[in-house]
């Protein structure tokens, strides 16, 4: 199981993860954009062979990100709103959706309840279309990090299939960091 984090940690204890995917611009990059045009311009500058994540703060950016071949993962944030059509499109275009824990830690009371409601709906639609998804802490600092078991138990309460999430995470990581992996169902053994 891999954790997708937004900062470079130092002196981490063993939290139960196989490894961490750090969006620092070297092996993985997280893009933020206000509109589709800005996102397209940023994507043009990115080289191949790097894991690209997009922080979708509005539905227009999410939809544009999913349509792009360069984008591998749609990162989670408080402002993100995923609708039915976007999740269905993500399944067709093979873009992984991240379900992060940090937005629940940052929110309070009624805002948190609304996020829970939205999460439950998203998970229902993800399960319906078998969209690839990952569960992670989405941590921006070390205080938001949690153990693997805590994250998995939290999301499984809302109906997530954790085994599928682990498989999707492994697929995304192997694409760029495993030399013997070509694509799903196709790999070099010797």
């Amino acid at each position: 199981m891999f954790d997708f984090i937004r900062f470079t940690p130092t002196d981490l204890p063993d939290l139960g993860f196989k490894s961490y995917v750090i969006f620092d611009g070297k092996c993985a990059i997280a893009l933020t954009a206000n509109n589709a045009k800005e996102l397209r311009e940023k994507l043009k500058k990115i080289k191949d062979n790097i894991l690209v994540g997009v922080v979708g703060k509005n539905p227009e950016v999410c939809r544009e990100a999913i349509m792009r071949k360069k984008v591998d993962i749609l990162l989670d944030c408080i402002e993100r709103e995923l609708d039915y059509a976007t999740i269905k499109l993500a399944a067709e275009k093979d873009v992984t959706i991240e379900l992060g824990l940090s937005k629940f830690l940052k929110s309070n009371r009624s805002e948190r309840l609304k996020l829970f409601d939205a999460l439950r709906t998203e998970i229902k639609v993800i399960n319906k279309f078998d969209t690839p998804f990952v569960v992670s802490s989405a941590a921006e600092n070390m205080w938001e990090m949690r153990t693997r078991k805590q994250i998995e138990m939290f999301f499984s309460f809302f109906g997530c299939n954790i085994l599928k999430a682990r498989k999707s995470a492994e697929r995304v990581v192997r694409r760029y960091f495993d030399k013997n992996y070509i694509m799903d169902g196709f790999e070099i053994l010797e």
Binding site: D72, R175, G185, I188
Partner: protein, 100 residues
């Protein structure tokens, strides 16, 4: 080298050494030999015990190609051999993280 290995999905398999690694039918696992013919849904493999016809869908094959061993899912090659040139390249172009 990697790009030539990638082309395995789009090329003809007749003459290649193949072994069935995974299959919903347990008796098919372990069938190994040379591919003598190919249709849209099946591979005809000449083994020591004779000709075996194995379906492609749902199976995983080990293929010996260019001095390397490659593991490939049968679902990726379930096309007619003559169609696979175009469809195989299309699959590779659509896959993320693959340079064609």
């Amino acid at each position: 080298m990697r790009r030539e290995l990638q082309s395995l999905i789009a090329r003809d398999w007749i003459g290649l050494k193949v072994e069935v690694v995974e299959s919903p039918n347990e008796s098919e696992v372990g069938i190994a030999g040379e591919v003598v013919d190919e249709t849209m849904w099946t591979l005809k493999i000449m083994t020591e015990k004779g000709l075996k016809i194995v379906a492609k869908k749902g199976r995983t094959f080990k293929v010996w190609f260019m001095e390397q061993v490659v593991k490939i899912s049968g679902n990726l090659i379930t096309f007619r051999p003559e169609d696979r040139i175009k469809r195989g390249l299309m699959l590779l172009k659509r896959a993320k993280g693959v340079k064609v």
